[in-house]
């Protein structure tokens, strides 16, 4: 469970599908039906071609560790040191997250290592998409 006190996201009409998705155990992205680009963060139109003809789909939840810092100072809801990371999803978009089930050290947090989504329930409405080192081997769950 995440520690109490961390900043809580407030869903908006344009992002509700994302937070409904994490609560249901899905990482939902959006894809443009006009130009086929997948994008994040959520919005009801395509940031590449401005088409409103977009669809929501469940992403694989797989990605790789793209970059991070390890914060050494206290923040409500966190015990330092902890990594603030960016993952690049297999579908293309990048998102900020935390890496769990992994030592928060440069030795353990290797850039480009495979990661997979790990849903962490914050409260009845919000479940955060965190990531952990991938357990999959050749694309299959170990």
């Amino acid at each position: 469970m995440p520690e109490p006190g961390r900043a809580r996201p407030q869903p908006t009409p344009e992002t509700k599908h994302f937070w409904d998705g994490t609560r249901a155990g899905e990482l939902r992205l959006q894809r443009c039906k006009a130009c086929t680009q997948t994008y994040f963060p959520p919005r009801p139109f395509c940031p590449h071609c401005a088409s409103r003809d977009v669809e929501i789909f469940a992403a694989s939840g797989n990605g790789r560790l793209y970059s991070y810092v390890i914060h050494h100072r206290p923040v409500p809801g966190f015990t330092p040191p902890y990594a603030i990371a960016v993952v690049e999803l297999d579908e293309g978009p990048r998102m900020m997250t935390n890496i769990v089930e992994c030592p928060q050290t440069p030795e353990a947090l290797v850039l480009d290592m495979p990661v997979e989504v790990a849903f962490e329930r914050l409260d009845d409405e919000i479940t955060l998409p965190l990531f952990r080192p991938a357990s999959r081997i050749n694309g299959e769950r170990a």
Binding site: R6, A7, R8, P9, Q10, P11, T12, T15, F40, P41, Y66, S67, Y68, V69, I70, H71, H72, R73, V75, G77, F78, P81, Y82, I84, A85, V86, R94, M95, M96, T97, N98, P106, L111, D112, L122, L128
Partner: protein, 380 residues
């Protein structure tokens, strides 16, 4: 803007820099503005344009007793003042006003009546960045650098050298907050803030302010100071979320603002005598040198290591000591502009002999925005 058509005729910082608990944020704006008006020999009635960030233009105009007919409240972080200069140049050239005052003041250290709006939990940053534990610029601005390090082989030692070289410049500046020499080892042994960034690779947090006064170049001879002319200007924005920047090894906003300014000025990199690149953290001069085209991709750290930007080098950079050693109130861009003006006036504490062209490049937010101003002391 026609190169050379607009001049900076007044420039000043607050009387004190560093720790100024006796002045609030608006008081710092006013102290800098009064100093700049004195520098230009002007009274409030002579000012008919106002631009500012942090405070609203309304607040600053009323506090100073101004009646502006041109107003700019562009607030995109620390490079807002570069963008104000660009907007003011356009307004002056098209005759919207005659004399523009640009002010900055920030009680970054003492926090006296500071304005800093919180991130709304419903904004995209509030939903998709804040829940993961960032605490301001040291944890956000720094996130792309590990990707840069892996891509180009940048080392911890090279990243530390940025701070070492800037301290050499600060040692020559009596107004600099930190002036004692430091080594790469000192930097790497300083307290870890947000790996891979240590304390001496992060900017200061101080109180201060600055102000500029601009007018059309044909009036420049009417003022007591040596005029500094605008040659080129550029601006851009990319994203309010550092996690969403297109390329973690390069800033799109830099790559728009910088070349726009160079093209307007009609100069090449070899023409540049003096350079300021906003250095809230040690990696920013590296990104700036590459994105502005002074060196190729992946070459900036070695360029700094080889002392090209150090005292005696061929491209003197951040000659006031920068945000890492001179001062940094939060929105540092104004202080970079002030140092470019001093260099062009020939009065900088670490004066570059014979410098005629200065490039001043700013960043706003966490790679969110950018502004570039190119100045000269040579009349068109």
């Amino acid at each position: 803007m026609r190169p050379g058509s607009i001049a900076i005729v007044g420039a000043a910082e607050t009387t004190e820099l560093g720790r100024i608990p006796e002045l609030s944020q608006i008081g710092l704006h006013a102290d800098a503005a009064l100093n700049a008006m004195q520098d230009a020999g002007l009274k409030p009635a002579d000012i008919d344009g106002i631009a500012t960030a942090g405070e609203t233009p309304t607040t600053v105009a009323h506090y100073l007793g101004l009646t502006p007919k041109w107003v700019d409240g562009t607030a995109v972080g620390g490079c807002s003042f570069m963008i104000h200069v660009r907007h003011a140049a356009a307004a002056l050239e098209s005759g919207l006003c005659n004399t523009v005052l640009i002010t900055h003041g920030e009680s970054g250290r003492s926090g006296v009546a500071r304005t800093r709006p919180p991130v709304s939990p419903g904004s995209l940053a509030g939903q998709f960045e804040q829940p993961y534990g960032p605490m301001g610029p040291p944890t956000l601005f720094t996130i792309p650098v590990l990707r840069y390090m892996k891509t180009y082989g940048l080392t911890d030692e090279q990243l530390a050298m940025v701070a070492v070289v800037q301290r050499e410049w600060a040692a020559m500046n009596p107004r600099a907050t930190f002036r004692d020499p430091i080594t790469v080892a000192d930097v790497l042994n300083s307290r870890m803030i947000a790996y891979p960034f240590r304390l001496l690779q992060c900017c200061l947090v101080t109180d201060g302010g600055g102000a500029l006064i601009l007018t059309r170049a044909e009036r420049a001879g009417d003022f007591p100071q040596k005029p500094v002319y605008l040659l080129g200007t550029g601006e851009s924005v990319e994203t309010p979320m550092v996690s969403q920047m297109q390329d973690f090894t390069s800033s799109r906003a830099f790559r728009v603002a910088g070349p726009t300014a160079f093209a307007e000025a009609g100069i090449s990199h070899a023409d540049v005598d003096h350079l300021m690149i906003y250095d809230a953290f040690a990696h920013l001069p590296i990104y700036g040198l590459e994105d502005l085209g002074f060196v190729g991709r992946g070459e900036a750290a070695q360029f700094i290591w080889d002392r090209n930007t150090a005292p005696g080098g061929r491209l003197p950079m951040n000659t006031n000591g920068g945000g890492l050693s001179y001062m940094h109130s939060g929105m540092y861009g104004m202080y970079a502009l002030q140092e470019s003006v001093r260099q062009m006036r020939g009065i900088a504490p670490a004066q570059v002999p014979g410098a005629e062209i200065s490039v001043c490049h700013g960043v706003g937010g966490m790679f969110a925005a950018s502004g570039t101003i190119i100045m000269t002391n040579q009349a068109a």
